[in-house]
């Protein structure tokens, strides 16, 4: 899974970041793969750009873990697409991940902020 911050050199995000974003997006609304890429790109103000393909291995991992499920459906544009939605286990997992992510960010922020005299 490669993720690139726009206009900077390629850099791997930490493990699980992509999964978290996918789960969060799918919790808002069920989507198929292509839509998911567009959604993540818009929501990040185009700052983050998923290499489109890298989404699919991540989705397969989530499927295997039972955190999302997929079904073939007809989309709004009348296309037969495979729509993913979160499962209850997925939601629970996401919440756990977010809280631990926030704790981690808090720590990182503290370290990075200027030292107070």
């Amino acid at each position: 899974m490669t993720f690139s911050a726009k206009k900077t050199e390629q850099r791997d995000l930490f493990r699980g970041a992509l999964e978290m974003m996918i789960l969060q997006s799918l919790r808002q609304q069920p989507m198929h793969g292509y839509a998911l890429v567009q959604y993540i790109r818009q929501r990040s103000n185009e700052l983050l750009q998923v290499e489109e393909g890298s989404l699919y291995p991540a989705l397969q991992r989530l499927l295997k873990e039972g955190l999302v499920k997929a079904e073939w459906e007809l989309s709004a544009s009348n296309r037969r697409v495979r729509t993913y939605r979160t499962t209850p286990a997925g939601v629970k997992h996401l919440e756990r991940e977010i809280s631990s992510f926030e704790r981690m960010m808090e720590g990182v922020t503290l370290v990075l902020s200027p030292v107070k005299a």
């Binding site: 490669t2 793969g33 393909g53 890298s54 291995p57 397969q60 295997k64 296309r79 495979r82």
Partner: protein, 883 residues
């Protein structure tokens, strides 16, 4: 069956994934077209933004896989296809590996059967070999126990749950008027209990069976089958053995064997017979001949047992100084360890040697792979270009190597089967448990392990090389058909040097063993073993004073008959027979020297019929030989050998001196004997054994046992067996003739082990020599093929054919010389490990080193000449045109 369902499910999942990705690209393309791109541009752009479709699909499949396992299987399938397409290469590698793995496997099965496999007794690690230590001599000198010693040890120890005695011998079984000689063991009543094996029929021995009058016998399964038709009601029946009637206690299980060394006993006899006489051997302390095996109590250490028994021994030494003065401590060793102790170093060396052969095979195959790899560099560059990671390429190449070495392993198992059969059948050798050497589960596990390790070993260098390729350059080179950089050559050269060096080590080792073996064969045993037939025969009267003269008469008459047979030059009899593992040492006093009873010396005794020395061709050095008139009524006489004279009569003339030997036959008891002759020394134990002092008594003045007959013939001695049996039948129909063999056969058996290791090691080094030659040849051929263009150019620019020839040969010889140099250093270090196996030759023997180096140099030269010659014959115009 969950995994099965998963496999079907997975098909669907993977299909879904492919469709999904396809649609993603489609949707993207349409979106881009809506922005105004052409379809072609849009499709390309969609793919670019999507990333590597194949790789992403693969990554998407990964979560559903038993990760690496399955991709390895896929790699393996690919590898098999690759090999199929390239049968010549496959065959060459598989044969090379098969040779290496096969030899290693054969030796490993030997090591497994002899050294590793536990004894077939319950909790066999508690079984101990037990002896007493003879402190009259330096070093560890095990001495057997006498019955009284054994009984005391058995009763007084606190550390064994049981100690049992056994002693081998032959008995004559008489059934339906037929007599046959069987191997038997005289055993204490608790032997089977100590071993932990119960009879399958009847009962075990009881303590009463040791008392006089209770002659009892236990049958082996095979004797029960062959002689008693597996009769169910066999227990309690009686049979006749050596003119006594025995009650059959029971039958031991199929396959039960004890002791494991020596001939397999057909039956086991209780001690009752030993106890049944006027002066029974069971009460003679000082008559030390018993073998003893004990079972430790649970939790007792070997050291505790040793201390325990040593205390008993030292008490006995104080109590019975006349017999036991020097036996003040005990020796305790695990039975298995004791049994295989002698053969261990030889097997280790052989195993080391095959490992080296395998290493050479590995180097060879690695060389082949390198050469092949350079031809395949384009293929791998392409793989790298379309997204295979370095790790993946390495993995695929390693899987290919392991697949190759597995094929080699299969070939090797086949070869090992053949080798083992040859080893067990063709070599008359007393390695205990050797006949049990088979390709069993342990060996197969070993083969698998060796195959994997071998595959990785020879695969890792080439694989690493391939993964270093720069795709762009490699592809460009690949299309031109020239590849392989400087690094690869260096690696390939290194391999050839290494295998030459290892090959030299093996050749030097086998050269040393061969030279040592030739020395052994050239040892003069002191007698002439050629054209002599030997056998034993039992006279059917007991050894007691009443029958004394009948024994002597019987043999005199028999020898007269035998001497008269056509083709017989002379015939005699005597006991023991050299190199037949029979021996007895008996104490003696030299008249006129005052020595305390307990300090009397003891040497090997022989009892011989007239004509013994002439028939054996042992030279008389002074005095006279025994004659017909040295009978029981004549003055007692004795002959000694040179070593005896040197030790006990240094600087004196031994003839006419008097010696009293502590041996009587019931008629003449421990008489003072006059020394009448001195004969030459003989090798009693084997060709490599030291010469020992020996003394000889006339059989008529020392009737102790059934002597060996020895018949010197003018032709092939084994042709005389029929005539011998006929003559024996004429003398006594019921007396069996047994242990019929040529004297040469005994001598040959005594060198069986050096022959065995020499032959095997020579085979291995022959293989090594061949492989090293092939390795060098392969490298140079490859080099010539690769440098065809260059060679063509050189010749076009005026180089002569001889220049080309010299160039290639020089390269070959340079490598060979570097290999030989390092090999010589290695050999100097390694051959020291052989010193225990060499006879009359130093591990650093310069002749061997020089000769072997010469051989390897010549072979290397030959291996270099063929490709060099081929290069020299190149037609420059043609090669240039082709390029």
């Amino acid at each position: 069956m969950n995994w099965l369902r998963q496999i079907f499910l997975r098909r669907r999942i993977f299909d879904d994934l492919s469709v999904e990705i396809e649609q993603h690209l489609e949707e993207k393309t349409e979106a881009l077209m809506a922005e105004g791109m052409s379809r072609k541009e849009a499709a390309a752009s969609a793919r670019r933004e999507f990333g590597n479709v194949a790789r992403i699909e693969e990554q998407g499949r990964e979560p559903w896989m038993w990760a690496t396992m399955e991709s390895i299987v896929a790699d393996a399938k690919l590898a098999v296809r690759q090999l199929w397409k390239n049968p010549g290469f496959a065959l060459a590698t598989i044969l090379t590996l098969g040779l290496g793995i096969g030899a290693t496997t054969a030796i490993f099965s030997l090591v497994n059967a002899v050294l590793l496999r536990p004894l077939a007794f319950p909790e066999q690690n508690r079984l101990m070999w037990v002896k007493q230590q003879d402190h009259s001599l330096p070093g560890i000198v095990p001495e057997s126990l006498s019955y009284p010693d054994y009984f005391d040890w058995r009763a007084q120890n606190h550390t064994f749950s049981g100690i049992a005695s056994y002693d081998g011998g032959g008995v004559t079984l008489e059934m339906d008027g037929e007599a046959q000689r069987l191997d038997a063991q005289m055993v204490s009543a608790n032997l089977f209990q100590v071993l932990g094996v119960a009879p399958v029929r009847g009962r075990d021995f009881r303590w009463e069976d040791e008392r006089p009058g209770n002659r009892t016998v236990m049958l082996s399964y095979s004797l029960w089958q062959s002689q008693f038709g597996s009769a169910k009601d066999i227990a309690g029946k009686t049979i006749r053995l050596d003119d006594h009637s025995y009650v059959i206690a029971g039958v031991m299980p199929k396959g039960f064997q004890f002791p494991l060394e020596g001939p397999t006993p057909a039956l086991w006899i209780s001690l009752s017979d030993e106890a049944d006489s006027t002066s029974p051997v069971t009460s003679q302390r000082g008559y030390d001949f018993l073998n003893v095996v004990g079972r430790l109590k649970p939790g007792v250490t070997i050291e505790q047992a040793r201390v325990d028994l040593s205390l008993i021994a030292s008490n006995l030494a104080k109590q019975y100084p006349k017999e036991n003065k020097w036996y003040t401590s005990a020796l305790v060793e695990p039975e298995l360890q004791h049994m295989v102790g002698d053969i261990k170093p030889a097997l280790r060396v052989l195993f080391g040697a095959v490992t080296l052969v395998l290493l050479i095979a590995c180097a060879n195959v690695a060389g082949l792979l390198l050469a092949r790899g350079s031809r395949r560099s384009a293929e791998f560059a392409l793989r790298a270009a379309i997204g295979a990671s370095r790790a993946k390429i390495i993995r695929q190449l390693l899987v290919e190597s392991v697949v190759l070495s597995f094929c080699g392993g299969v070939a090797g198992v086949g070869l090992a089967f053949g080798l083992l059969r040859g080893m067990v059948r063709l070599m008359p050798l007393n390695i205990p448990r050797m006949e049990g050497a088979t390709i069993d589960g342990t060996v197969l596990v070993f083969v698998v392990a060796v195959s994997v390790v071998t595959g990785l070993l020879f695969g890792v260098l080439p694989a690493w090389r391939m993964s270093q390729l720069e795709p762009v350059q490699a592809m460009r080179e690949g299309t031109r058909g020239v590849a392989g950089g400087r690094g690869q050559h260096r690696m390939h050269n290194g391999l050839v040097v290494a295998q030459t060096a290892i090959g030299l080590v093996l050749l030097v080792s086998s050269g040393l063993l061969i030279r040592s073996f030739v020395r052994i064969l050239n040892v003069d045993p002191g007698f002439d073993p050629k054209h002599v037939l030997t056998a034993r025969m039992r006279v059917r009267v007991p050894f007691d004073p009443l029958n004394h003269d009948r024994h002597v008469q019987f043999y005199s008459q028999l020898l007269t008959r035998l001497s008269a047979l056509p083709g017989v030059q002379s015939a005699s009899a005597g006991w023991p027979l050299p190199m037949s593992d029979t021996n007895a040492t008996i104490r003696f006093r030299i008249v006129g020297r005052s020595i305390a009873e307990a300090d009397l010396p003891s040497e090997s005794v022989s009892a011989v019929m007239p004509g013994f020395f002439e028939t054996m061709r042992i030279p008389l050095l002074s005095g006279r030989m025994f004659g017909e008139k040295d009978d029981s009524k004549a003055a007692p006489v004795i002959m000694i050998n040179q070593a005896f004279a040197r030790r006990y009569f240094p600087g004196e003339n031994p003839i006419g001196k008097h010696i009293q030997v502590a041996l009587g036959d019931g008629v003449i008891e421990k008489p003072v004997r006059e020394v009448v002759g001195v004969v030459g020394d003989i090798k009693r134990k084997g060709l490599t054994a030291d010469v020992e002092p020996q003394y000889f008594l006339p059989y008529a003045q020392a009737v102790i046992t059934n002597p060996f007959l020895m018949i010197r013939t003018s032709g092939d001695p084994s042709n005389l067996e029929g005539a011998l049996r006929a003559a024996a039948r004429e003398m006594d129909k019921g007396a069996p003739v047994y242990q019929v063999s040529t004297l040469e056969n005994y001598v040959s058996k005594s060198v069986a082990q050096p022959r065995f290791q020499t032959l095997l090691l020579s085979c291995f080094s022959a293989i090594a020599l061949m492989l090293s030659a092939i390795g060098l040849y392969g490298l140079l051929s490859y080099m010539v093929a690769e440098r065809t263009l260059e060679i063509g150019l050189r010749m076009a620019l005026g180089a002569k054919r001889t220049d080309v020839l010299r160039m290639i040969v020089r390269r070959g010889l340079t490598l060979a010389l570097i290999g030989l140099g390092s090999g010589l250093i290695l050999s100097a270090l390694m051959t020291r490990l052989l010193s225990g196996m060499l006879y009359g030759i130093k591990p650093s023997d310069p002749v061997t080193f020089a000769a072997v180096t010469g051989v390897l140099l010549i072979v290397s030269l030959a291996a270099s000449c063929v490709p060099a010659y081929r290069a020299a014959l190149l037609d420059p115009m043609e090669t240039l045109r082709e390029q």
